[in-house]
């Protein structure tokens, strides 16, 4: 996704209000943008707190800054700067974090971002975009470039299977029909799961939805999704994020406020570091139960 992001931003780099900052990350990826943006490409150094406040200052002069780093370094270290300087002032600073969830795998816990959007969504005026597929990056970047508010873009690995045809970008999209439970997935896990779920017989196959934009509330959940949920009476949510502040909690609140509760609810989410051992993204997903096999088990129950 990072390369698609870079290629997309190149197209915006000659806009008069464009400016891009990186916390010294993006080697072997952002060079095309560095070339096209010229002095509007700023390596702010390994100083994320300053980079975020500088971005707020730039935004105050009329620019629309993009601030990039790997996911944990863009939201955790400069959290107070995001909270006070960007969000309290509702400035159009776009934070971009590469490697959401367990994306940086065996690099270790310092490099993971499994609580990023929960934390950021607790701030005023913040929006979050968690693309599932690289093909969604151009429309999301266009949307972000024009969004007059703070936002966080969580980039991950593109796991879209070749035979999955993606409909036009929308915050909520159904990617699989079926007569089974209603499955809501946030992030790139969607592609991985789709490949396996589509092979199930129609009776078991979940009505599978992909959610990309957060937060949502009880008024913005699509009617189609609610219809699926009422028919199935079984909701499964999958996200590479801890339970606190995640999509599962958000959805539960919405449903309760609407006076609705499916008979069955399963939430597959990041569990942290249960064994204390480290490994690839898939190792950590497996340890958290974020695997096709685990979810399939639930479908056959």
């Amino acid at each position: 996704m990072r390369n698609t992001f870079c290629q997309t931003l190149v197209q915006y780099s000659d806009l008069p209000d464009f400016v891009f900052l990186t916390g010294d990350l993006g080697f072997m990826a952002l060079e095309p943008l560095q070339k096209s943006a010229g002095e509007r490409f700023i390596n702010a150094g390994i100083a994320e707190q300053n980079m975020v406040s500088v971005s707020a200052g730039l935004a105050k002069t009329g620019l629309k800054p993009w601030a990039f780093s790997i996911a944990p370094f863009i939201y955790a270290r400069p959290l107070e700067q995001i909270r006070n300087d960007v969000c309290l002032h509702d400035l159009p600073v776009k934070l971009v974090g590469n490697g959401g969830g367990y994306g940086y795998g065996v690099m270790g816990g310092s490099h993971h971002a499994i609580e990023d959007y929960g934390i950021l969504l607790s701030l005023q005026n913040m929006r979050v975009f968690v693309p599932a597929f690289a093909v969604d990056i151009p429309p999301i970047v266009e949307k972000l470039q024009n969004l007059p508010h703070p936002a966080y873009l969580r980039l991950g690995k593109d796991e879209k299977p070749k035979d999955l045809e993606i409909k036009l970008y929308a915050p909520w999209r159904k990617i699989l029909e079926g007569d089974g439970p209603t499955l809501l997935i946030t992030g790139p896990l969607a592609g991985n799961l789709w490949s396996n779920l589509k092979e199930l017989n129609k009776q078991k196959r979940p009505k599978t939805w992909v959610l990309t934009e957060l937060p949502f509330d009880e008024k913005t959940i699509p009617n189609e999704f609610m219809k699926d949920l009422r028919i199935s009476d079984h909701l499964i949510i999958v996200e590479e994020h801890v339970a606190h502040g995640g999509v599962g909690e958000m959805m539960s609140r919405c449903l309760l406020l609407n006076g609705e509760a499916p008979r069955q609810f399963n939430h597959y989410c990041a569990q942290g570091y249960l064994s204390g051992y480290y490994g690839s993204q898939n190792f950590h997903r497996k340890e958290s139960g974020l695997t096709v096999e685990n979810i399939l088990k639930k479908l056959s129950n």
Partner: protein, 240 residues
């Protein structure tokens, strides 16, 4: 204002009000911007903005009360003269660097003045901003440090030994001058100078300036005035 609201932070307000007055009355043009990084001196800033006609008596009367824009630390998105809400230390210099860079990239005229406290230089983010501002040669940026020598729970020199801050700034490549922070003519003169990059002015000030029982007393970082103290302070200042 502070007495009526029963709030403190008076010491740091009195140490900075002279330089705030000189900046707002003699230096700042409509193109310039001022960032109060030491947000706890909001009272001095509000009073200064009142003195230039930007705030009214009615505004000041609501200081630190319910339904006010004059909170204890500046609020966001309110008036042009307060571009950023502050209150947590170590933000203003980075914000100012962003403003200066934004103006530079777009060819927008105007200078940026940023006032920090002295103890605030214990915050690491300030040093990030210093490196950044010098590297990007942000020559419209002036840092002013209110060196009153006292912070919340001790003397600055005893808490963190920041002296010589001037030498530290110079070693980072930022021209730095020291000035008597209560000498109005000297302040005006030094504020009017220019530089090829960002520059710093360390204003030597007295916490609680002008009120004998407050001057250079640490406790007046936080304390509010009693009625007796208020009357005595008024007498010393020749007020009513």
């Amino acid at each position: 204002m502070h007495y009526e609201s029963g709030v403190g932070h008076i010491g740091g307000n009195l140490s900075s009000i002279d330089l705030l007055m000189v900046l707002h009355h003699k230096i700042l043009t409509p193109d310039d911007m001022f960032i109060l990084s030491k947000g706890h001196s909001a009272g001095a800033l509000y009073t200064t903005l009142w003195s230039v006609g930007r705030l009214k008596d009615a505004d000041l009367n609501l200081f630190h009360k319910d339904n006010t824009k004059l909170s204890g630390h500046p609020a966001p998105n309110w008036i042009k003269e307060i571009p950023f809400a502050t209150g947590s230390l170590g933000h203003g210099f980075s914000l100012s660097a962003g403003l200066a860079l934004g103006k530079k990239l777009q060819g927008i005229p105007g200078n940026i003045f940023c006032l920090t406290s002295d103890g605030e230089w214990e915050e690491g983010s300030n040093w990030e901003a210093l490196i950044f501002a010098v590297h990007h040669k942000l020559n419209s940026l002036t840092l002013v440090v209110d060196w009153n020598g006292l912070q919340g729970f001790g003397a600055t020199q005893e808490v963190a030994g920041l002296e010589s801050l001037k030498d530290k700034f110079l070693s980072f490549g930022m021209p730095t001058e020291e000035v008597d922070g209560h000498d109005l003519d000297a302040l005006e003169k030094v504020f009017k100078k220019t530089s090829s990059g960002p520059r710093a002015i360390i204003a030597r000030t007295n916490k609680g300036r002008g009120i004998s029982f407050m001057e250079n007393k640490m406790e007046w970082h936080y304390l509010a005035l009693t009625e007796d103290q208020y009357q005595k302070a008024l007498e010393e200042l020749g007020g009513e």
